[in-house]
Symmetry: C2
Subunit: 226 residues, 2 copies
DNA sequence: GTATTATTAGAGTATATACTCTAGTGAGTC
DNA sequence: GACTCACTAGAGTATATACTCTAATAATAC
C-alpha cells in the first residue's frame, strides 16, 4: 500500500479512536513509523488529510443513499438505507464530533459539507415519498415531509454524540456498532404515526430488533471495553 | 463585580463567540486586562472555569424545566418550556459544541452531565404525560413516550449544530436567537401526529410562528452579521 | 499603626504543535 | 555509469498553550 493511503487510513483510525483534536500530525507519523517530513511530503497540512477523508465519507454515503427511480421501494430498501447510513457514521465517526471546528478551519470543507447535507436531506425526503408510493407510510405534504426529514437527519447525526455523552461509565472508545444502530430504533420511532395499517406490524417488528437493551449497561461495558 | 465572576462571564462570552477550543486562558486574561497569574489565582485550571459555567447552565435549565405538579398543563406552559430551553441553549451555546472533548477531560463534568441529561429526559417525558392529561396530545404508552422524549432531546441539542454547519455562508458568530428558535418548529413537528383534534389547530398555529423563513438567508445575513 | 490575608502583576517555563529544510536513498532510464 | 525523480529521514523552528513563581499591593482585623 502507498504511503499516502496509509496516512489516510491511520489518520482515520486515530481520529475515530481519540478524536481529531487529540491526534497531531506527529502522532500519525509516529503511528506509521514514518517521519513527519514524510507525512508533509504527501499532504500540505492536517486539513488536507481531513478533507480527503471527508471526500471518502461523502462518496460512501452518496453511494448508499442512491435512490433507484425505476422501481417501487420495499421495506428491505428502508432497512438497507438505515443500516448503511449508520455504518457510514460509524466508519467516519470522528467527523461529526468536531464538525464545527473542522468547518471553521476549512472553507472548502464547509461548502462541500453544506452541499452534502442538502443532498442527504433530499434523499431522506425522497425515501419518504417513495415509502408513501409503496403504501408503507401515509403520504404527506411536502412541507411536513421536509421537516420530518430534517428531524430524521438530526436524530441520525446526533445519536452517537448522545451515546458517548449520556453514559457516564463509557469512554469514547467504548462504543460498539450495535449500540450505534439502536439509533435506528429512534428513527423508526419518528415514523410510527405515519405507518399504514398494512405495514404497521411489520415495521414495528423491525423496530423491535433495534430496541436498546434495558439493563444498565455499565457492568457489561466494563467487561467488553477493557 | 468580583474578579472571579468577571472571569466566568468573560469566559462564557469568549467561548460562545469563538468556541472553547479557540479560547485560551491567556485570551481570557487579556480580554479582562488582568494577568494570567491573577486568573490562576481564582481558578486552578481551564477545566474548573468550564465546570463552573456548566453548573450555572445546569441550574438555569433545571429551573426552567421545573414541572408544577399541583395543576394541569397549558399550551402556554409548553411554549414557555420550549422558549426557555432554547434560551438556555443560546446562552451557553459553546457547551454542546465541544461537549465530547469537555467530558473526556473532566470526569466530574461527565458524571454531572449524564445526570443532567437524564433529568432533562425525565422532564420532557413528564411534560408529554401532562400534555396528555390536559387533553392536548393523545396519551401514549411509557415506552413510546420515552423514545419520543429522546428524539425531542436529540433535535433540541443538535439544532444549533445543524444551523451552524448547514449554512455555508454563515460564520459561527453569525447566528441569531431567532434562528435558533426555529428549532421549536422542528420540535413541534414531532408532536403533530399526536395532537388531539381539540388542540390541533392551536398548536399548528403556534408552530407556524416559528417556521423558518423561506428565502435564501445569505443576503440577509451579509447585512445582519457585519 | 501593625499584622494578616486576599488579590494582583508580570515575567517565566515546560511542553506541544503544525510545519520546514536539508540531505539523502533507491529504483528505474538512457 | 550518470541522471532523474518519487519518496523518506530526522533534526529543527516559530509559535502557542496551560500553568507557575515571586514579589508586590490593597483590604481588613486587631
Amino acid at each position: 500500500m502507498k504511503t499516502r493511503d496509509k496516512i489516510l487510513l491511520s489518520s482515520l483510525e486515530l481520529f475515530n479512536e481519540r478524536g481529531e483534536r487529540n491526534v497531531t500530525t506527529n502522532h500519525i507519523a509516529a503511528h506509521l513509523a514514518i517521519s513527519p517530513g514524510n507525512l508533509y511530503y504527501h499532504f500540505r497540512n492536517k486539513s488536507d488529510i481531513i478533507y480527503e477523508i471527508f471526500l471518502e465519507y461523502e462518496k460512501l454515503v452518496d453511494f448508499y443513499l442512491d435512490i433507484p427511480e425505476d422501481r417501487a421501494m420495499t421495506l428491505d430498501d428502508m432497512t438497507f438505507y438505515l443500516e448503511s447510513v449508520f455504518d457510514g457514521l460509524w466508519s467516519y465517526r470522528f467527523f461529526h464530533r468536531d464538525l464545527e471546528y473542522l468547518l471553521d478551519s476549512d472553507q472548502r470543507l464547509r461548502q462541500d459539507y453544506r452541499d452534502f447535507t442538502n443532498r442527504c436531506l433530499a434523499s431522506i425526503s425522497r425515501i419518504f415519498e417513495k415509502l408513501a408510493e409503496a403504501g408503507i407510510i401515509e403520504p404527506q405534504e411536502e412541507d411536513l415531509r421536509s421537516a420530518m426529514s430534517l428531524n430524521v437527519w438530526l436524530v441520525i447525526t446526533n445519536w452517537m454524540a448522545f451515546l458517548k455523552t449520556a453514559h457516564a461509565a463509557e469512554e469514547s472508545a467504548c462504543l460498539t456498532l450495535t449500540e450505534l444502530k439502536q439509533g435506528i430504533y429512534q428513527v423508526l420511532t419518528l415514523e410510527i404515526p405515519y405507518l399504514t395499517p398494512a405495514y404497521r406490524e411489520r415495521v414495528m417488528a423491525l423496530r423491535e430488533k433495534y430496541r436498546p437493551a434495558l439493563h444498565d449497561r455499565d457492568d457489561l461495558n466494563a467487561t467488553l471495553c477493557k
